[in-house]
Amino acid sequence: MTNLRLPYLITAAISGLLFGTGLYVSQMVDPLKVLRFLDFTAIPSGGWDPSLAFVIVPAIAVMFVAVRLGKRRSAPLFDTAFHEPEYKRIDKRLVGGAALFGLGWGMSGICPGPALSLIAFPPAGLWLFLAAMFAGSYFGSLIVPSGHTRRLADAQ
């Protein structure tokens, strides 16, 4: 199995380390900082914190270059193919899922990356939140058709 080889796992580890470092450095691990971005009502008073935009734009820019570089190659370094999402349709599930996620994100200021990174310095209530997040993901997996081909057939 490709994904059990050492270079593959080391790549996953380096990526995780960089990601966690980036989330701490940018302070996107701070729920209140994220909420201060989402609070557009603070724009007129000058209390709005635009930091999140300054995080996501460079992140997209770096990844954009990587995607371009990847297009020149037939495969990544340590696997036989790039695993591109194959669903193309904009459906109720995409929009509904994004809306429910947005609701939870707006309530808490936590999205999945920061939620897991917070384990490094766990605030009170984090384990309860994480258990709920895992449970929610599991309930979701019961609704999404299981099996790659079935999901694909369902989405196209």
Binding site: S51, F101, A132
Partner: protein
């Protein structure tokens, strides 16, 4: 502008982009956190690299907070979760359970979160991700407007 940190944000953002770039060019995988953890659950395949990634994610946040403790929460300041609006009279655990369930369920059904759709999807110029990002940012902004918890 309260606590606006453009330089710190941009450096952190570039590191997040680099993390996504390494995983994509190395392993051909998208660094969508909800997908990486969501597929640890049954019916799971290829669990090991996901576990390695997530352990490293926590280690990265921990290591950075020890190296640069002055940057914010997790360093000198303790991390705290945000309580529900006082006027609503809801207990904090219920608020955490509700938001956690919504985030887990929504990202599973919608196939992605801020990293998968936001960073990777937009970088791939995915129309699906653009729609998802517009919806979850829009709903989150509305939610904060309604709760007024900032």
């Amino acid at each position: 502008m309260e606590s606006f940190t453009p330089l710190q944000s941009a450096i952190g953002g570039a590191l997040i982009g680099l993390a996504a770039a390494v995983l994509w060019l190395g392993n051909g995988r998208l660094a969508g956190i909800s997908g990486i953890f969501g597929q640890l659950l049954p019916p799971a395949r290829t669990v090991l690299w996901r576990l390695v990634f997530l352990v490293a994610l926590v280690a990265g946040a921990w290591g950075a907070s020890r190296l640069f403790p002055g940057l914010g929460i997790g360093g000198v300041e303790p991390a705290v979760l945000v309580a529900p609006p006082v006027a609503w009279g809801l207990p904090m655990p219920l608020w955490l359970i509700l938001s956690g369930l919504l985030i887990g369920f929504g990202t599973k059904i919608g196939n992605g979160c801020t990293s998968g759709h936001g960073v990777c999807g937009l970088a791939r110029l995915s129309y699906r991700s653009l729609v998802a990002v517009a919806v979850f940012f829009g709903v989150a902004i509305l939610t904060v407007t309604v709760t007024g918890i900032v």
